[in-house]
Symmetry: D3
Subunit: 296 residues, 6 copies
């Protein structure tokens, strides 16, 4: 470091004191792994948090890369209401992209930063116990008719077994987890990464669930950032149509996690540098922080 900047280190001390030994679950989209500089920068921030004594679990999906590989292989990706319909071939794609390519890329980037990371998915150690999602009637927006959609190898989480995670965290490894799950009959299931992250955070009684997205956080109608909010306000914002589209399930995952014991949930941008550090080491934060409503 530059000797003139050493005094800045000291400003980190109160934050380190506050969060040392606590667990953070950080969910990233697969697109972070797509750009080497962004991945490098993100891993540097994770490494710094891990090294000052914060226990980190990284959860990732990889939708964009899965779509790309599907197209390369001549499989037409089919999305229904934001959920990938996962036939046999697509499941192979998802396993290869999530648990193979992206997971290994994150691991090797973390290793470069001196972090002992371990790549897993919800299939490992029976962490994510899931059930196949039953076929569902869905309105086909093109035809205007309801259709029965079989999502294929898509799963919903039934329960979480934290034994492998706690074994790894206790031995100072950083688990990096692809959003797959399994059942006891040997099926692999594709599961929404936000949901996996939220359930893992709840099961580990995490201090923070941090959702790294491609927006700055929850925005007001005038596009200004909401720094802090609560479930009650989120509810109002959804009703008012301010929170909409893909932000709705994220906000709901966040509210669920708060209910199940996570202390705060953060929605930050993965596109800008140091947002993860900013959310942890500054009082204002860099994105939106959700905390419980005051009771009473």
């Amino acid at each position: 470091m530059n000797p003139d900047d050493l005094h800045l280190l000291r400003q980190a001390l109160p934050y380190i004191n506050r969060f040392k030994g606590k667990t953070f679950v950080v969910k990233i989209g697969g697109e972070i792994a797509d750009d080497e500089a962004t991945l490098h920068s993100f891993c540097e921030e994770v490494a710094l948090l891990a090294q000052v004594g914060i226990r980190i679990v990284v959860v990732h999906g990889g939708g964009k890369q899965a779509t790309e590989l599907s197209e390369q292989l001549g499989i037409e990706p089919k999305m229904v209401q934001g959920r990938r319909v996962t036939d046999e071939q697509t499941l192979d794609v998802v396993m290869m992209v999530f648990a193979g390519k992206i997971n290994t890329e994150i691991l090797s980037a973390l290793r470069e930063m001196g972090v002992d990371a371990v790549g897993i998915s919800g299939v490992d150690g029976g962490i994510v116990n899931a059930v196949k999602r039953p076929p569902k009637k869905v309105l086909n927006e093109k035809t205007g008719k309801e259709e029965l959609v079989d999502y294929g190898h898509v799963g919903d989480i039934d329960s979480i077994d934290t034994r492998l995670l706690t074994t790894l965290l206790a031995a100072d490894f950083v688990p990096v987890m692809a959003s797959l799950g399994g059942d006891d009959d040997g099926n692999v299931l594709n599961i929404n990464a936000d949901t996996v992250a939220s359930e893992i955070a709840s099961a580990l009684r995490a201090e923070k669930l941090i959702l790294v997205t491609d927006v700055e956080g929850i925005l007001r109608e005038d596009k200004s950032l909401i720094s802090r909010t609560t479930p009650r306000e989120v509810d109002a914002l959804v009703k008012a149509g301010v929170i909409r589209g893909g932000m709705i399930p994220k906000a709901q995952s966040a509210v669920e996690a708060l209910k199940d014991g996570v202390q705060t949930v953060h929605i930050i941008s993965g596109k800008k540098s140091s947002t993860l550090l900013g959310e942890v080491f500054t009082d204002t934060g860099s994105g939106t922080m959700l905390h419980r409503d005051a009771t009473g």
Copy 2:
């Protein structure tokens, strides 16, 4: 079980007594995962060994499936002296097939058998510390000329760090390991699975290294099976041309492992059922067992 068969269980007792608490490293080719019935049968055998108290590490590659995916993606696989030249695109294929598809399939099959397995590769927890293989002059058999071949992202093992493996084994997880390695600069390297298995077995001071192949074992010239042999005999058999082709590096890995402290090395067939159990639970075994030469 059928009550009439119960007495057979007892015959397993002396073998259990002998191997309980010992470590076996089992290397399989990726092709086992290609056939569901074979994978199911193999995992059942692994599960049984694990449940009677043997500590199992599974190591696998996946060359056949990597070639298939390469072809699907229009990448021409290029092999030089049995080693896959691994350019950037091929490395992606290898990561996806080894660490993604095959690894997850083995995990889920083991989970079906009640085994808490954890999928890793040599990148995880810094297990396999490798260096990029330097370009090498190789005789081009077609042109008859020497060419300088750059194998690309192919690595040679520098050192093994067993901390993650021993953490997982101590917590009664079965590690399933894809044959990738890494270096401290964040590079991922494709490594020969036989070599990975042999080095892991040595580093763990394993009781047995079991190489599951597509042949019955080491055969004599008359195609009869050699049940037991030693490094000295192997040496003679290589010189006599009886051991040849792909069996040579396997036999050499086996001899290396014996030198480094592994008790016995076994070469068995993955095409027939119960060869793994047969090698452990019968005195004759099902394939070829290598043990050290008597000294003196």
Copy 3:
């Protein structure tokens, strides 16, 4: 093993998965130790269960051999309502036969099977805290008159201290326990072995209490075997006179154990081979299994 029989091993897997790490308390009569082949066979079965990860506690008495030694020493054995009146001399006989001869014979037979067994009685480590049974008015069937019977050094269990048992089980030893108890004044007391086994099973929250007897199990009036039953049915069977004689206290011990948290109680024959394995490794079992009544 015979290679052709290896596939049978696999059938044991689901049972091993179910019972691994669970505790079974197995009570045998002393007469098993009287016949070398029977003892050898029983110990082989215990060894197999122990080696696949089931935690076994063996409890034994030794009434037959105690009677024999008493007679050799010219002490007339005196039984009142199935309970041995235990004067000073008879207590010596009981200690010698139970804790000396039979216990050591079982230990050495288990050691031959590769099991690290430890012979104890309820006096060791203060496991069985007992009180002397107070004299009781009993109808003398010969004279038709009530008599006050002092059972001598016969005890009733006051409490169980599991510390020694859990220390031994945690270190993978198999405790073999003679049915004696003690009090804090240094007295040794002769205690019914069924009762000791039932109380130990309850205190350890055992999965199974297995009573090895000289009959096949609980029989119907037509002598056919009842494979499964419940406390409510047992009650009815006792009232109907189908369960009678020595089976009544056994059935009552079984019902008590179920109440106190043991999952299932089994009554099997020690005269036939593989009944212990059959009860654990087959779905039909070999004797009678008692489980709780469905509630509702």
Copy 4:
């Protein structure tokens, strides 16, 4: 205690400081258990040593009681050169008396003193690994001819496995051990108790081996007690015929133990009260202490 005697307690402090956490192996003859007051007094001394933090292992035989029971059963005891010829029937007697009666009596007396004792023999946990003593030519003193004597089930120690002892000591139990051993074929063997104690003390790297006998210690020709001596002096005393008879093997066991790492060996009387405490808590001791010769 009497308040006036409290100051005496303080005199124990330096001895406690010196021996806390150290291991003492105390060998007693079975005859101590024959007299209730003597047993009570001995157990009180053992309890006190155990409670101030000394790790105690008690080893006992029981020759006198074995002879009595043999006679009661009409078996003629046969001794050759001080060693009991142990046929099948006699082995039963030895198991019953050593592991049954005497062991349980010592346990219950210790329990009365608040000590958590555990009765074992060398068969338990495979502690004493012994081999049957081969038949030996022995001079028959009556006939003056050599005879081939088969000692029967008499064993010599091959090796000691301390795992059960260290498990029990670490959990603060006091092991009380009958001098039997076994082999891996399931045979029980009768072994000299002095030898067992000496070998156990060596294997545990004990601080003290204390042999409780029926004499005051090693005596000079004028019957005065030798308080301290060394292997070299013992050698001279044997040659001079001062040490003779049953004291010779005791002295030899003592010398062996010193060679194998035991710090001091003590020969004291079990007939007088407080000799055990006296040997530990006074500088002069109560019997004979053997320590290594000064080197040089």
Copy 5:
């Protein structure tokens, strides 16, 4: 020891059995450290208790020596209602005398007795979390007027963090603790030693809180000693004026500790030898023992 006194040791056995592994908090006044023979004698008693397995925490103040040093430095000690008004200079005196001189003297005396003692104060490891006592209106007895007294750096206990104490006790160290406390702003506060001892005893769920004073115990009006009493009787004695002066806060600390789970509280004299041993090792004790009122 004198061999003739060995039998007396045995009388300690039942007391050792009763208190082994229990925690005693012993509070002494600083004046004990003022006289070398008294300190030596006290430390010998503490050492003996520690060595027989009782976990000891020593708490001390040092008012007398603080007054002396204040006077040497020309600072006029100012007491209001028995509490030292602690300005900046006086706080330095208190730190130097309590945590420096007296603490080190006790440590080195204990070390001489073979005890591994560790000197701490309530500032160490954040044990005593205190708040500055707010200024209070107090009647000036000289002027007859109420005055607002600022006690300065005097604290009241807010909470106790036992982590350091349990770490030290688990590693068999004897903590010796000066009666200082601190807050999270880095202030050091002077706290009444009786209160510290009472709160520490409660937080550790101690078996005994022993207050070593300069009187024999609680005395009746006729100066005879009350051997045993209860909170209810203490209440009556205070009301009746029998307990008065400095004994009132001591008696109140004792009653508080009983309420918070300490089993018994003892008030004994530090001026006579062996009172600590007498209170532990005799049935009558040497001072006054407070136990809870019988309920009902």
Copy 6:
């Protein structure tokens, strides 16, 4: 923190990776505790190092304050060759100032920074085993004659027992240690703080020994700072008279520590802010770093 400065945090990562889990022994003069701002700044730096996973032991003396208190008490301080002659009264002063005042002030300042610090001296837990320095003939510079000087309670280190230090470090406490030692006869001895720090660093196999002084480091004749040096160069500098006065013993302590296994020794200034951080987190460092001579 200021969001704009967050990127600077990342520059600390490689240093954290390098030193995490390593032990640093930091020696400070007592004068640091004399100025509140300096103490505050120093403790902030220690806290930061501790929180990123470096194990810190602080060693301090307090000569300046000891001299002040001596003077206040009318004791004339007497120094011979830089060593305080320590009579009975002066020993009291040293205990009070070192272990009482300065130690407690450092503790409470660290506590304010969120550090769980524990104040000890070498008397605690028998860490520093010392012997009284024998009287020595010393040249009286005033009289020009040799005099026999008895240094009084001044000690030289005989051995270090690290058990208490490792217990505290393993439980994540920061030991703050006053430079006193003791012997087994209960004597307290005043010991040079540089020597204590050097010996503690050696015994703990510390990564770094950091001597905080009132100069910038070792200076060249032109007063420029020597950033890196080796024992061989130090030797030359002493001979050349460049290193002189109080720096000589410091340089010698440093050289000793390197010999005994400490990786690097640092001499830095306590008068400027961030020199401790600068020495750890920058490549140039802020003072002088001593490392071993290259061999060969």
